[in-house]
Symmetry: C2
DNA sequence: GTTATGATGTCTGTGACTGACGTCAGTTAC
DNA sequence: GTAACTGACGTCAGTCACAGACATCATAAC
């Protein structure tokens, strides 16, 4: 028999979400979360670098889905198309069954400024990672950062929409629509100086 | 003679930046900052809601410049043009003389994850405020959020570029270029379903 | 002159986080 | 087969960010 129950991080995360949802984020101490699953505060902080992080545990699979989508894009695809691929890829991670869970988690996050801050930082980090991937494919700056940031923005908007009670569409559909809206929006303004993008494949 | 030197917040901010730059952010305590200008830790936290905030004191004028730019845009301007106005407006707040100061401040921020987090959150907050202003002008969702977020992104990229040692152009010029790049980028992809934007003036 | 005000100091407490060190089941090396 | 090793945990003690409550006192308002 093992000395400890396995999956400490997962148990802590589940307990944390429950406690945050029922008693509030600030009202719940890290020690309480740990105790509720038979661990100590010290162990909590061995698994999570800080208290907020417990709500973002597992986001790496989500980031990886983005990168997989980038890899799956055809070699000659323009930056925005690569981002569209990435968005399609990540949308598969959020089937309809997951909406309820996502919704309660998001409710907790939106209730607390510190958590909102961490969330926007995570989204920014995703954009950075995406930009790195685009640059690795030969997209130049600032196109890489612009495209990546746009992708993160589109995802953020689409996700918020997907969570809403009155929404029936799949995340993939919403994402595609929001991206299209962004492109249409850009089309209404007139570029003033620059020639069309010269990025894509260097060397 | 006044009982206390005036401008406590400004003095605290200046002292904080100095100490952060010379000894590092984490190595500097709030009490040290306060003491260095003859105040107490408690007073520090009366002026700033938390330790990081001291580096962002005064950002309201910056946000206001954005909003002024929105107001200055012609009534019939499409969302992206409104954003362009806002960007031009805010660029005037950063003349060449301010580059050195901005650079050291940014160096401090980039050295610390907690500060970077706060910064990305401030940028997100700016985007939210901008989106509100666009919506107040009749821009519908998600166009308002998309345009606002794009504006914030463009500013972020342009500002980072403006700060670089090897950069000679004004922030206004860089901003215009980055925005153009974004529009060109969008033009390379093909919108698939949506009709052109139907936002702008409701009711 | 009295009173109100506002920025400050003082005191005290809580909770997030950290470093150092001890513990012990299971694994590996010999 | 035992000894050394490892990894996940507990314990203890400490620092610091931050907040509530209350006192202080120069200045403004009356």
């Amino acid at each position: 028999m093992a000395r400890w129950e396995p999956g400490a991080a997962e148990r802590l995360q589940k307990a944390a979400l429950d406690l945050f949802a029922s008693h509030g984020y600030e009202e719940t101490t890290a020690a309480q979360i740990a105790q509720s699953v038979g661990l100590t505060e010290r162990t909590f902080f061995r698994h999570f670098s800080d208290k907020r992080e417990v709500l973002f545990y597992g986001q790496d699979v989500f980031v990886r889905a983005f990168l997989d989508g980038v890899d799956a894009a055809p070699q000659d695809a323009p930056p925005i198309e690569i981002v569209a691929c990435a968005l399609r890829s990540v949308a598969t991670l959020f089937p309809a069954e997951r909406r309820t869970h996502s919704r309660t988690r998001q409710a907790v996050i939106e209730q607390n400024p510190a958590l909102r801050e961490r969330e926007s930082h995570k989204l920014a980090g995703l954009a950075t990672t995406l930009a790195d991937a685009l640059r690795a494919r030969g997209v130049a700056e600032p196109a890489a950062t612009l495209a990546a940031q746009s992708g993160a923005t589109v995802f953020g908007i689409a996700f918020a929409q997907w969570i809403r009670e009155d929404e029936r569409r799949s995340l993939a559909d919403i994402t595609a629509d929001v991206l299209d809206e962004l492109l249409s929006l850009a089309a209404t303004a007139t570029p003033t100086r620059r020639a069309p993008v010269r990025s894509r494949r260097r060397g």
